[in-house]
Amino acid sequence: MEIGMLPISASKRGKLLAAGYTTLHSILRTSTTHLARDIEVSESEALEILNFATRSSDLDKSSGSNANVIHGGQTAWDMLNEERFSSLITTSCLDLDNILGGGINCKEVTEIGGVPGIGKTQIGIQLAVNVQIPLDYGGLGGKAIYIDTEGSFMVERVLQIAEACIEDLSEYSHHFYKDNQAFGVKMHPNSILENIFYFRVCSYTEQIALVNYLDKFVTEHKDVKIIIIDSVTFHFRQDFDDMALRTRLLGEMSLKLMKLAKNFSLAVVMLNQVTTKHIEGSFQLTLALGDSWSHSCTNRIILYWNDDERHAYIDKSPSLKSASAPYSVTSRGIRNSTSSSKRIKMV
């Protein structure tokens, strides 16, 4: 029923129903004073309820117009136009970028999972550096938030990757702008490190609190273009007896992250661990946190070993085809795989 739509407390709702106000229309017909008297609340509270009711019904009235029929809704055409200008963050591996349609998408939540040592943290750090590639070089010139839940963020490695990135950019600019000195890359590895905001999370309560706080943080730091959570799993794997509660908390957290991605046009990358599951008579690898969690992200990439090579597989995506691409982890970061025989495989 319509009263249920109003964002008011349960007891106020109960009072409205008890006093006979079962529809929005009935509330709108009355005045603040009458309403206050009928349901025994103060006049200001009654006014607040009336305002909520007015807002809700206004939206019903404008059903004739085309845009924003329902609050927060958007037509597919508008979305298409937006998506065309969506920004992408390169992974530094051409094959991987190709199956991703150019790179990691801002405005979307991407989950990346794999066994220990496959390169999840490596990709996380590479993205935290690549988001900072200046606009002149086709990058976003943005900043990164790195949420470390396991203590796997090693500063030495970030420095290695940052230095390699600057070297690559210099080589690129030297190649294309041989005569033009002005295009020399003025970035210093320290400035790359400075643009990575780092949070060390030690419990699931801190993790939830931080995700809640990010809305305010990103509002104050509008140039943040990527949030990396390494790993989203760790604190939710221990300390939880009540699995149903865990599912609800994870669900709320992922909704908040999706909202952040959409509202601020940034990429959210969640790194996940693996676990074994008994399916169809045998044990198989699967990403952790359960079945309901697997619905929480927009895109899901699984990193795995294929013989001696690291591969990434697009397990789930509304817009990308299921495909697999090889990549490698080098001293300079994530790069193309060196073997020439195995290229992108369409599944």
């Binding site: 203590g151 030495e156 905001f197 060390r200 939830i208 198989q284």
Partner: protein, 361 residues
């Protein structure tokens, strides 16, 4: 280097609980809403954050906007402080020896690890029995206690000897052979050895204070230990090194994902080999939890120490042998291993044993 004394345990407990257990009425919320929280038995920040906002709205009987603003306020206070990667690096360079590394004095390994065993994280040594894990630990203990000008940390060491393998005689032998200048000085051996404290728990529960009751499953107990050890390493910024055992892993079938299984089945039968190798104990959760994993193995009559998991190192394997002065690398360049080979653990003796068994059937 390591906090000594009786208060360290309570200090660490305090650290872990500090943030999450702040009382709601001490967080500066408007009195009215703080009272409502308390009235509904939501006493600490952790209690509030352990419920979804919708659940809170129902439970507290207030509107969504009030819940959201109260939770925003609480979250801002509970969430960890913001740093930058630059700040972290500068702190380490400024405050710590070699920017937070304990050199192992094995040149190739130290180079690969950007200086040595890193502070603040858990480094695991895993390998079959007798391969040299304890020898490595003895050497590290010594190295940590050495004065800074000899490449040490001039610190104290806590050696938790679960399997009663610590040998002080061997420790002194390693010290005398590796650092004769120090150890032949009067009283130095005593000083160095005096900095190493050996704890011999008769059972794990003796030194690990557990918040869970004894009925907790092994996974849960392990999970708690993982968090505790990692927090310990991080808050005190010390290196924590531990050894792990191995168990056998029979057959060629490694675990796969469901999408891999589909493509495998079309390839036809894979010949089953009897190549048994070993895997680290404690499973995949534990493998995720350690930051650095050094695998010690024996293959083709040689021993290797491999960087099986390390965020900042290439996948190198260094041949080594054990001398009177401890572990010595035979080659400082290392061999780069391709693929998951870096993580497999070989053991000569084990293979032979297994083949004999199979032949018997």
């Amino acid at each position: 280097m390591v906090l000594a004394g009786n208060n360290k345990e309570s200090w660490f407990r305090g650290q872990k609980r500090k943030m999450a257990n702040k009382l709601i009425n001490q967080l500066g919320l408007p009195k009215s809403i703080a009272n409502i929280f308390t009235a509904r038995n939501i006493i600490t920040a952790k209690d509030a954050l352990s419920l979804t906002e919708f659940e809170l709205m129902e439970l507290l009987d207030v509107g969504m906007s009030e819940v959201t603003s109260a939770m925003a306020h609480i979250s801002e206070l509970v969430c960890p402080p913001c740093q930058t990667a630059l700040l972290l690096m500068e702190q380490r360079v400024r405050n710590e020896s070699l920017a937070g590394h304990l050199p192992t004095q094995l040149k190739g390994l130290d180079e690969a690890l950007c200086g040595g065993i890193p502070f603040g994280v858990v480094t695991e040594l895993v390998g079959p029995p007798g391969i040299g894990k304890t020898q490595f630990c003895l050497k590290l203990s010594l190295l940590a206690s050495l004065p800074v000008n000899y490449g040490g940390l001039d610190g104290r060491v806590i050696y938790i000897d679960v399997e009663s393998k610590f040998s002080s005689k061997r420790l002194i032998e390693i010290g005398t052979k590796s650092f004769p200048e120090i150890f032949h000085k009067k009283g130095m051996a005593q000083e160095m050895a005096g900095r190493i404290l050996i704890l011999r728990p008769t059972s794990l529960s003796e030194f690990a204070e557990s918040e869970h009751d004894c009925g907790a499953s092994r996974q849960q107990a392990l999970g708690w230990h993982v968090s505790f050890i990692k927090s310990l390493a991080e808050f005190s910024r010390i290196p924590i090194v531990l050894t792990n055992q191995v168990r056998s892993h029979v057959g060629d079938e490694s675990l796969m994902y469901s999408f891999q299984a589909q493509s495998r089945s079309t390839k036809g039968d894979i010949p089953v080999t009897f190549d048994s190798h070993l895997v680290a104990a404690l499973g995949i959760n534990w493998a995720h939890a350690v930051t650095i994993r050094l695998v010690l193995e024996s293959k083709s009559g040689k021993r290797f120490i491999k960087l099986a998991k390390s965020p900042m190192s290439p996948p190198l394997a260094f041949p080594f042998h054990i001398t009177s002065s401890g572990i010595v690398l035979l080659d400082n360049d290392g061999i780069e291993m391709k693929g998951p080979e870096i993580s497999t653990i070989h053991c000569q003796g084990q293979n032979a044993l297994f083949n004999l068994e199979m032949a018997g059937h």
